[in-house]
Amino acid sequence: MMAGQAKPRRTLRFCAVTAIAAAINAPVIFMVMNAFQTTEDINASHDLIPAHPTLANFVFLLARTVYVTFFLNSGLVALASTVLTLIAAGLAGYALSRWKGRLLAGYARVLLMVQMFPIIMALIPLFIIFRKLGLINHPASVIIVYTAVHLPFATWMFRSFFDSIPRELDEAALVDGCSRLQAFRRVVLPLAGPGTAAVAIFSFLLSYNEFFIASVFLRDEGMMTVPVGVQMFMQQYATDWGSLMAAATVTMVPTFLMFLFVQKYVAYGGVEGGVKG
């Protein structure tokens, strides 16, 4: 690439990317702009730019509805399931990376089956089990299910990531007298930042956004997560578009910010390790 060609090409590419990004995110942009209009205004016209921009929807949402409860519930559930996923998948990913054998090959296959399992099949049996344990309408039910559902993907990512950490490091630690677990904790984990960040983000995102399972197990209004709660805004007798758009806008802010700040540190590879046995 000649130096003279570089600059105008760069600008051209920048413009192209900006245009494409804007076009692709058009639905989101509309939604955010609608959040700044009252429901009456939204119903009255399909104008893009708000005629009377207002923060009323947000004020209403945060001060006078249970949205904050939904938000906190979502945060709790997503955080808890992320931590559990990191622990379970981290350990399993390490095992898959460092050991070979029939047991592990079998487990890798099990992971694939879990990924393929349609969760709807599990809902009624789980409902009964959780009922016996008193966990209906309790965040633990959803946390457990999310963790299990995210295990395959998270384990693959961890496995792939640990594969990229040379085994010599582990072996050096073992020679020095550490147990496997100690080697894992002292040598490998400190290097696992980017991989952990990647899994954490994906797991948090998938838990935070999940609608179906949450709508089955968390029906008590005080326990609902945001996606289910937002659906409540779509009522039979009137759709409060203003609040709905505002709720939607606020909902995407945490994950958006999270990605924005953390994406530098995240190792995005790791998908390949997955499906192979």
């Binding site: 989101v28 089956m113 809902l123 299990a148 499906v275």
Partner: protein, 285 residues
């Protein structure tokens, strides 16, 4: 020494196995049991053997849902892959603010499904919806997307592709960035065009990632409940009902847990079969 080592990996797997046992394995067995009975959500009902399954085979709704699931998966995988690859290629070059753009392109995936569905519904709902206004500007007639069997399917495909491509893009971008630059230099020296270097260097290097991505995306699409449910509810006239929506309808609306469980188990079998075939192919090549 060896005996101790053999137990240790099991210990590392223990938390995962416990979770999978509770959340997947046990419900799978129980679900199969339900599919052999005719029960409701609150009562188990009587044993009917394979009746639920034979009823399904003869039900045209089932075959339609199956067809739609397959078409949906193919459309989404192809569309998301092409779009993801295109944008990944674009992003692979040196662009100011690349980190920001990466997140910007991730937005469709980051947003909860209900949020994206709300925005999309609003975009296409009626004659005065923004998309139709655009069509009017171009001199075309308005399309009533959600009222027409075919167009409703198109909307469902479009929204799903929109939500799926960021993940493809992310992984492909990582793959692209992992390609050794010297390979390109070598082909450049040999006088290859950009298209040729793309075809003969880039694509082969991306092959493994691409295959895995497509398999994963197929699985996720066939198991997708939220997208069609929230956009069209399976309508109009069941045009956008896939296997999972059908299972949902039987279990939660009609209260026929037996048939609903049968549908979901059949879906599981289909996916397993698919995965087996693909893996065997992959191992052979």
């Amino acid at each position: 020494m060896k005996a101790r080592l053999d137990l240790l990996p099991f210990a590392f797997l223990l938390p995962s196995i416990a979770l999978i046992g509770l959340v997947i394995a046990w419900p799978l067995l129980t679900g199969i049991d339900y599919s052999l009975h005719a029960g409701t959500m609150l009562r188990q009902g009587r044993f009917v053997g394979l009746d639920n399954y034979t009823a399904l085979m003869g039900d045209e709704d089932f075959w339609h849902a199956l067809r739609f699931s397959v078409v949906f998966a193919v459309a989404n995988v192809v569309g998301a892959y092409l779009l993801g690859l295109g944008i990944a290629l674009l992003m692979n070059a040196d662009i100011p603010g690349r980190g920001f753009f990466r997140v910007a392109f991730l937005l469709p995936w980051i947003i909860p499904s209900i949020v994206s569905v709300v925005s999309w519904r609003w975009l296409v709902a009626d004659a005065n919806a923004p998309v139709n206004l655009l069509l009017k500007l171009m001199g075309a007639n308005p399309i009533y997307f959600l009222s027409s069997d075919a167009w409703a399917q198109v909307v469902v495909f479009a929204v799903k592709i929109w939500r799926s491509f960021p993940f493809m893009m992310l992984s492909l971008l990582a793959g692209l960035q992992g390609i050794d630059r010297t390979l390109y230099e070598a082909t450049a020296i040999d006088g290859a065009s950009r298209w040729q270097s793309f075809l003969y260097v880039t694509m082969p290097q991306l092959r493994n990632v691409s295959i895995v991505l497509c398999i994963l995306m197929t699985i996720w699409t066939i198991n997708d409940f939220e997208t069609p449910f929230l956009i069209t509810g399976g309508g109009p006239s069941y045009a956008t009902e896939n296997l999972i929506l059908m299972a949902f309808r039987y279990v939660f609306v009609r209260n026929q847990v037996g048939i609903g469980s049968a549908v979901s188990f059949v879906t599981f079998i289909i996916l397993t079969g698919l995965a087996l075939v693909l893996l065997r192919r992959q191992r052979e090549s």
